[in-house]
Structure formats: structure tokens, C-alpha cells
Subunit: 244 residues, 2 copies
DNA sequence: ATCGACTACTGGTCATACCACTTGACGTCT
DNA sequence: AGACGTCAAGTGGTATGACCAGTAGTCGAT
């Protein structure tokens, strides 16, 4: 019996999600107006402060524009939304959006090596020791979910070493999109987190202090799973074949 | 006389900024508790709903954790905050944080070429035509601010062509951090947005459809200004020299 | 026809009350 | 003395209703 922490969804959360769905899933296009706060409160059967809180969060996410005295209008989220919207775009109407997933893989493959290159130039000797320990933990684990957790910790350490606030924040945002799906991704990522050797090579490269070596090593860690997953996504996105 | 649109700061905005400052500027460390909503409302002289709205926004940004019945505690923003916090970190206590600015430049230099490579593989013939027009507009302008606007539009188009939701959202987040400072940055970016030739080469590379060529061309557009700015930042970060 | 005031909306803010949950202190039982 | 329930105080969660402050369209006077 597997128990899970109960998730308490607050009323404003619920409202936020519903309005967000309307905007993101295209029920209300850019430029169109939302119903007034009072009307929404009435329709949804909640209080106006609850609606207000949700709309303000929408505004803070740059998804809508609220004007005192005027109507609240929908903005073009593709043009204005920040990276924190990613988790919500990755899953649209309950289904994985394959084109978004593809972009995540591509970005990961592009950015990971860049971060590794920065980290190599800055890490110092402590970094290699830390990373070696993390890889050891990774190697000592059998469970694919736990391996992912360790791999995540590994990259977390690399990002730290890169000493880049922008990459740190990007990593945080991506992790926020990734972690909820960690269990579902276990079989898909097994290939990557299983290649302990590649991680060891990367660790050595990071310790060596040479950015280009580290970049290449990071590429070798990330590329195999990236390419096989991209292939799988492409197959998913293609309409089902009709051969017997 | 230069008139500017009046900025109306709402009460919750004000509260949000104040609490955010406490958290980001280190007055309240991770794990510590915030005063209760009622207490904050009293101290700040505003209503509880206003405080609540601000705290909920903090929670949505993953900067604090509010627990029903318990205290609201501060989280480690370096570990959890998303890319949308960047504008606030770029400027701390009214001053530019040079290490954050450095990371922005590094990230730009790393990601720009990657995006260009993707765009080259996907853009099609329309892309080159669009970009040529944007470069023409860029070339026809004398004002450094306007040039930046055109350069931004140029990259916007490139990101579109890359057909990557992740890079699109990253671009949006970065632009949100960049645009407010556009005017102040004009003299610094003049070097980059002035090199129309480099942009034309990049345009041609993007049109050619070869990712590697495009990557290299993008690097040539971004690198000069990046390096000179990194040098300037390093000089800024170093304590003033004491030679006569 | 133009202009201005008016009116009927919109969001912004507040005060207050009550519900739901967590915490920790207190007392009781073993 | 320790372990265990109970309960009160404090916290966030939600709702109500009122009023302020802007906006935009209407309608009348000029």
C-alpha cells in the first residue's frame, strides 16, 4: 500500500487553473476579454477575493492584463509567458505535448554542455570530489527513480559550480517541470541514468578544468537518451501507421 | 519635456515588493518564518486581503511556503526560484549585481547560437526574407535604442523559427529582464547592434539551412559585445584601484 | 455635429466574521 | 516518569458586503 500526501487544492488555485486552461488551451484568444471578477465569482460559485487572487496571479505570469476600470484581457502567452509556464504547456488537456517535450530535450542537450563548460572553468578540486561521491551513489542504486534523483543532484551540483544565476534559475524552472513527472519518466530515462561510465568521464573532465573537454563529455552523457527519446516522440507525433 | 505614462502601484504590489526585498536581499533567511498575515497587515497599514494577495504571489513564485494553520516560511530562492525572478536579481538594493549580469551575458552567448542552429534547420525560405527586412530596418536607424528594438525583433523571429517552446519561454523571460533597462543599455549595446554586416552574414547562414554555419555566425554576432562587456563588468566588480 | 456630463459598468481596497488546520501546552492515565 | 489524549490559541482559508476609483459608452445641451 503506497500512501501519498494529500493535496489540498485551495479555491484560488482551482480558479487559477480553470482560467489558465481557458487561456492556454485556446478557449479565449489574445485580445479577448475575460468576464468581470464579479461575474466569474458568480459563475464559479466562489467569492470575489478568490477570483481576484487567481486573476492577479495570471497577471503576474503575464498571461492577462488587468486594467482598473476596464476589462481584463488575455495576452498572447507564447509571446509573453515566462519559463515557469513550461510545466503547464508540457501537458495540455491531460496529454503530453510532443512538440514541447521535443523542445525540452533539445534545450537540455544544448544547455547542459554549456553549463558543464562553465563549471569546468570554475569548479576547483572540491567539485570533482563532490561529483564523484554523487556518481557513487548513483552507481549504488538499482531503482530507476532513485537514479534520476541522483542524476538531478549531480547536475544541480554542476550548475552550482558554473556559478551562473541565469543557468541556475533556468535549471530550477526546468526541474520544476521535470520532477512531477519523474516517476513516469523512469523507464524512458533509464538508459541515460544507467550509463555510470559516461558520468565518470564527465566528472573527470569537470575536474580537469578544461571547458571543451567538459562540454564534449556532457554531450556524450546527454545525447544518447536525447536522440532515442526524440525518435520516440517523432513516432508518437506521427499519425498511427495503417499497415497490418 | 518628456512625459511618461504614470505607473500606478497597487497596494498588493507594494507589499509584494517589500516582502520580496526582505527575502531576496537576505533580511530573512531560508527556513525563517514571516510574520502572520494579520501582523503584516497591521504593521504595513493595509488590509489582510492585500497582504494575502502578495504572499500568495510569493508562494506562486516558490519564494515562500505557506501552510494552512502553520507559519509562512521563507524558501531558498537560489534553489527554487524560476527564471522570472531574474529582473529582480539583476538589480539588488538599487545596484546592478555584476555577477548576475555576467551570467546573463554568458547565457546569451551560449544559447543564441544554439537557437540559431535550430532555426537554420527549420526556418525555410520565408525566414531569410523576414530577417533581411528586419536587418534593413536596423541598418536604416541611427538611434541606438531603436536599433536594440530591431535587434530584439530580429532574435524574436529567430526564436520563432527555432520552433522551440522552451527557448521561446526563455527568450520571453530574458526579454522581460532586458527591456526595462533598454535605454540604460543603449551605449553598451551600441557596438553589437551597430554591426549590420554580422547580422547579414547570420541571416544568410540561417537561410542556407546549415545549423553549424548558423551557429558560428550567431557566435560572431554576439561574442564581441559579450566579451567587451564581460571585461567592463570584471573591472566594475574589482575594487577601485589606488594608483595615482 | 460637437462637446461635455452623467451613468453604469469595471477593478481596487477595506473591515469583519467565521471556518479549517496546526501547534503546543496541559492534564490525565498508565 | 512517561505516553497519550484533549483543548485552546494562533495561523491561514474563505466569504460577505461595502465603498472607492477608474473607464467607457450614452445621452443631452449647445
Amino acid at each position: 500500500m503506497v500512501l501519498q500526501p494529500v493535496t489540498r487544492r485551495s479555491v484560488p488555485d482551482e480558479v487559477f487553473d480553470q482560467v489558465l486552461a481557458e487561456v492556454v488551451d485556446g478557449q479565449i484568444g489574445p485580445g479577448e476579454s475575460l468576464p468581470s471578477e464579479r461575474r466569474l465569482a458568480e459563475v464559479l460559485g466562489v467569492s470575489r477575493p478568490a477570483v481576484r487572487e487567481a486573476l492577479q496571479r495570471m497577471a503576474a505570469t503575464r498571461l492577462v492584463e488587468v486594467r482598473h476600470g476596464g476589462a481584463t484581457t488575455v495576452r498572447d502567452f507564447r509571446r509573453h509567458a515566462g519559463l515557469d509556464l513550461l510545466p503547464r504547456l508540457l501537458v495540455r488537456r491531460g496529454k503530453l505535448d510532443t512538440s514541447v517535450a521535443r523542445s525540452v530535450l533539445e534545450a537540455r542537450l544544448a544547455i547542459g554542455p554549456a553549463v558543464a563548460a562553465l563549471a569546468a572553468g570554475r569548479g576547483g578540486p572540491v567539485l570533482a570530489a563532490d561529483l564523484t561521491q554523487t556518481v557513487d551513489e548513483l552507481a549504488a542504486t538499482d531503482d530507476d527513480v532513485q537514479r534520476q534523483v541522483h542524476a538531478l543532484a549531480y547536475w544541480d551540483r554542476v550548475v552550482d559550480a558554473a556559478d551562473s544565476m541565469v543557468f541556475r534559475l533556468m535549471f530550477n524552472s526546468l526541474r520544476a517541470a521535470y520532477e512531477p513527472a519523474l516517476e513516469a519518466l523512469a523507464p524512458l530515462m533509464a538508459e541515460e541514468v544507467g550509463q555510470v561510465d559516461a558520468y565518470r568521464v564527465l566528472t573527470a573532465a569537470l575536474g580537469s578544468g578544461d571547458p571543451d573537454t567538459a562540454r564534449a563529455a556532457a554531450d556524450r552523457v546527454l545525447r544518447p537518451a536525447t536522440e532515442s527519446l526524440l525518435g520516440a516522440l517523432a513516432a508518437l507525433a506521427t499519425p498511427p501507421r495503417e499497415d497490418p
